[in-house]
Symmetry: none
Subunit: 219 residues, 2 copies
């Protein structure tokens, strides 16, 4: 497997290179955006690891150009945790996945492996709505710089709400998502979870109640 690492900071680039080599990949390093674009265009790499802040040509431009040129090489954004807006933009431009620093090396390797296998159904590992971003790998909810971890049930509810963002998700659908079909859940329990989600979302306006029907994510 050949991996292109687009990273200008020498220490980071070195770290990534070693880890990938150890896992049996061959690695090509681009030290600035222009180099990254050049190497990416050859199409000989199986995966691209892309830092967004590169000298000369930034990461967004790189993704955009490559995708415009019909290059479909799977691309993984490597970004700082507090730059989630950038990540969203990158994914919109056609990146396939992302990873926030700091990260564990084995997580990085797993992502690279997953991307390079070109899963039968390409799976974005995130769900986005407005400035919300739900990471389905880590179960973290990001919003304008803030990050909160969701519990199992919170995540299950948030996931279905985000999948159907804009339309009402009925009580039954929520209960099915969180506890299984036809589960007998005390009504108060759902209220409590909605409350937790609202707190973690930050803006209570975003998760609205549709009285006696369900809840809906709406701007």
């Amino acid at each position: 497997m050949k991996v292109l690492v687009a990273e200008d900071k020498p220490m980071m680039a070195d770290l990534l290179t070693r880890a990938l080599r150890r896992a049996g990949h061959s690695v090509l390093v681009a030290h600035d955006g222009e180099e990254a674009l050049e190497f990416g265009r050859t199409g000989e790499c199986d995966v691209i690891l892309l830092d967004l802040m590169l000298p000369r040509v930034d990461g967004f431009t790189i993704i955009q150009r490559l995708r415009a040129e019909r290059m479909t090489t799977p691309t993984l954004i490597v970004s700082a945790r507090d730059g989630m807006d950038d990540v969203v933009r990158g994914l919109d431009l056609g990146a396939d996945d992302y990873l926030t620093k700091p990260f564990a090396l084995d997580v990085l390797l797993a992502r690279v492996r997953a991307l390079s296998r070109r899963l039968p159904v390409s799976a974005p590992s995130h769900l986005a709505f407005q400035d919300l971003l739900l990471d389905t790998n880590t179960h973290e909810l990001h919003r304008s710089g803030r990050t909160s971890a969701l519990t199992r049930t919170e995540f299950a509810l948030m996931e279905v709400l985000m999948r159907r963002a804009g339309s009402i998700v009925s009580h039954e659908a929520l209960i099915e998502a969180g506890w299984g079909f036809g589960a007998d859940v005390n009504e108060g329990t759902l209220y409590v979870f909605i409350r937790m989600l609202r707190a973690k979302i930050g803006d209570p306006q975003l998760l609205q109640t549709a009285r006696s029907v369900g809840y809906v994510l709406r701007p």
Copy 2:
């Protein structure tokens, strides 16, 4: 996300269950083929993890039967590396993906995630009449730029009126739509709701009275 694990070897089943639970899925274990078939038929699972060599009913039969019964639940075959022929046969019968033992847990999770992402996204569904537009996903009524939210009962009444727009909807039909068949509703109640609807529609001419019969949406 609900995952059905069809696996007879207790250690393997346990391992899978833990990993899936940790990743936030709810898990149902079938210990033999007959159980797997039974659980699979309910259609309540989002993904099936299927060992091919199960007691009583083997994995091939399970896929075949489920597909014959129009169950489209995404199914992932878990198989030993040296049984690739079996895998091919399984895929031919309608399985969606496969995984060979031994495998990394995060790969398994990535595949499950990939498959489960096929959840049907609710289709946008609208009812239109003249310049009225009723959004059945959000329960909103739009008219010439204006938007008003309908309560549960208002929506139920408006829905039946729009579906039969142009023809008279009887009192009984309206009551059935709003409160259930044969419900005992004070006549004044219906008047009040019709009034609310007229107010939200904007133009009172549009929702006309069919004296001693019912109401009708008409230009």
